[in-house]
């Protein structure tokens, strides 16, 4: 198949939630090294709430929209508005489309990336989730081949992007005040973003088969 149905596929969003919940302690731990150590807890809380509200009958777009709503109205922090806007604009990008194929997916990624850039004040290289999201989006757009091959390329670029934050100095957010001391640790947002994109890709790949 060249794509997956939009309808009845909100379970993919629940799979993303499960991944975040499973990594709650890890995300808080890496956040705690240069931030305040709440990233995993807050993310897990929001994603768990969203998972409870998502029904298998919902479309992928509805699932993303539900997740966005919870993050923006219930979670707060930095991740509430950043991921909230990202998922809202991703949901809008696929909207009522019946199928999500490579073209729709690329639009979705680009919309998510635009949303994060517009609400935050970060650029690539600032040690934020954009260091995962931007190269991942670019890899998907520029890789030839079928949907699955492009998703695999996106996953690899996301992981590479996440790892690239280890040697960066944080330039925005709480850890930016540490300067040189922020080097040597993965960015928690870049790490959770990698989990989100990889779980999303895996969910689609399984359903393409």
């Amino acid at each position: 198949m060249s794509g997956i149905r939009n309808a009845n596929n909100a379970a993919i969003v629940r799979e993303i939630a499960e991944c975040i919940i499973a990594n709650k302690a890890y995300l808080s731990e890496i956040d705690g090294r240069i931030g305040d150590g709440d990233h995993g807890n807050n993310m897990a809380k929001g994603f768990a709430m969203a998972a409870e509200r998502i029904s298998d009958d919902d479309s992928l777009a509805d699932g993303l929209s539900t997740l966005s709503g919870v993050l923006m109205t219930e979670i707060g922090g930095s991740m509430g508005p950043l991921y909230g806007m990202m998922f809202e604009d991703m949901a809008e990008a696929i909207g009522d489309e019946s199928m999500v194929d490579a073209t729709q997916f690329q639009r979705m990624l680009e919309a998510g990336q635009e949303a994060v850039i517009s609400i935050g004040s970060a650029h690539v290289g600032d040690k934020t989730l954009l260091d995962t999201l931007c190269p991942a989006t670019e890899a998907f757009a520029n890789t030839p081949g079928n949907f699955q091959a492009r998703l695999e390329a996106m996953k690899a670029a996301a992981a590479e992007g996440r790892d690239s934050t280890r040697d960066m100095i944080a330039r925005v957010g709480r850890s930016s005040r540490l300067g040189e001391r922020s080097r040597g640790v993965l960015d928690a947002g870049a790490t959770s973003c990698c989990m989100i994109l990889c779980t999303l890709a895996d969910g689609i790949i399984r359903r393409l088969a």
Binding site: A25, S28, E29, G32, R33, I34, G35, D36, G37, D38, N41, N42, K45, M72, T73, E74, I75, G76, G77, S78, M79, G80, P81, L82, I119, G120, V172, G173, R174, S175, S176, R177, L178, R181
Partner: protein, 334 residues
């Protein structure tokens, strides 16, 4: 970890509930949002509304500063995490009496984003929102990058000045200008002696080696800019005062307001030891201290350490500080 909690996920809601029950004479819970605390006196006809908000774990901040001639409504976030845009928006609506609302909050990425989104939502309701972003923490960025500095305990003095000015019936522009002026005249520094633990994590956020202290520590446990050997209290007080006074240009005859706040676990008598030295030094400089505050005014869970805040007063700020204020965290009787 030895703590009084039920479920870590419920602790913020439970603490807010207990807080409004304990201070029901001054505050109430927002009817539709369990993360917004509103003053009994708000909204007050003919007056600009004041709002703040921030993560939990700093009690009595932020909700302790809701009350008469202080903040009208507060948005409450998770531990050390910004409140939602929705909560800031609900707080703005609760504080608005038709004269606009000034949001006086601290410079953190999450708060900046959520306040921005809330102001956008309020604008759709026709509510004019202005903001003042506190950045009193000297060690969090150099002076030439002051816009990057964090807001810490100096926010209390900003709320006090803004609240007193709003009480006079001043315009939104005037209240914003006074709060900004108060902030510009305020500098803070923190020193950490031991870390704090978010109950959901179960272990300390960072480490401070025995026999050392972190100068310039943030009040979420953001590591300080310098780790040095622990000194005697007078030497620590001297270091803290030197850091805040470096940007104050005080001369004999000036008046300042001084706030020494514990970070949660430091015994209060030690705060008085610090204050004793600070007061002695200011006295030797012939600088008058108006309305000193010493105690746990802005904490960081059970972190051990203290913050020092000094606000240089002009005639307007002196007059505003002399007025009455009553909120759970602070009572001033003229």
């Amino acid at each position: 970890m030895q703590r009084f909690i039920n479920n870590p996920d419920d602790l913020v809601d439970e603490a807010v509930r207990g807080f409004v029950k304990a201070h029901r004479d001054l505050v109430a819970l927002h009817p539709d949002n369990a993360r917004v605390v509103v003053s009994r006196t708000a909204p007050e006809c003919g007056r600009v509304g004041l709002v703040t908000g921030g993560g939990s774990g700093h009690e009595p901040a932020f909700m302790g500063y809701v009350g008469r001639h202080m903040v009208d409504a507060v948005a409450v976030g998770e531990l050390f995490s910004s409140p939602t845009a929705k909560s800031f928006y609900d707080a703005i609506r609760a504080a608005d009496a038709g004269n606009g609302v000034c949001v006086l909050y601290g410079n953190y990425a999450g708060d900046n984003m959520n306040v921005k989104m809330a102001a956008r939502m309020a604008a759709k309701d026709g509510i004019e929102v202005r903001t003042v972003v506190a950045n009193d923490d000297v060690c969090s960025a150099p002076l030439e990058e002051r816009e990057k500095r964090r807001g810490v305990a100096g926010e209390i003095l900003m709320w006090r000045a803004g609240g007193a000015r709003a009480a006079t019936g001043a315009s939104l522009e005037a209240v914003q200008a006074t709060a900004q002026k108060a902030l510009d005249a305020t500098r803070s520094v923190g020193v950490g002696l031991a870390p704090c633990t978010l109950p959901a994590n179960g272990r300390p956020n960072f480490e401070i080696a025995p026999g050392t202290m972190e100068v310039g520590i943030g009040h979420h446990g953001e590591p300080g800019m310098e780790v040095v050997d622990l000194k005697a209290a007078d030497a620590v007080a001297d270091d803290m005062l030197d850091i805040v006074l470096a940007e104050q240009n005080l001369v004999a005859g000036d008046t300042v307001s001084v706030l020494v706040s514990g970070l949660g676990a430091t015994p209060v008598n030690e705060l008085y030891i610090l204050y004793d030295r600070i007061a002695t030094r200011l006295d030797a400089m012939n600088v008058e201290i108006m309305q000193p505050l010493v105690g746990n005014y802005f904490t960081s869970l059970e972190m051990m350490g203290a913050t020092l805040t000094v606000m240089k007063l002009d005639d307007e700020l002196r007059a505003l500080l002399a007025t009455e204020a009553s909120c759970p965290g602070l009572k001033v009787t003229p």
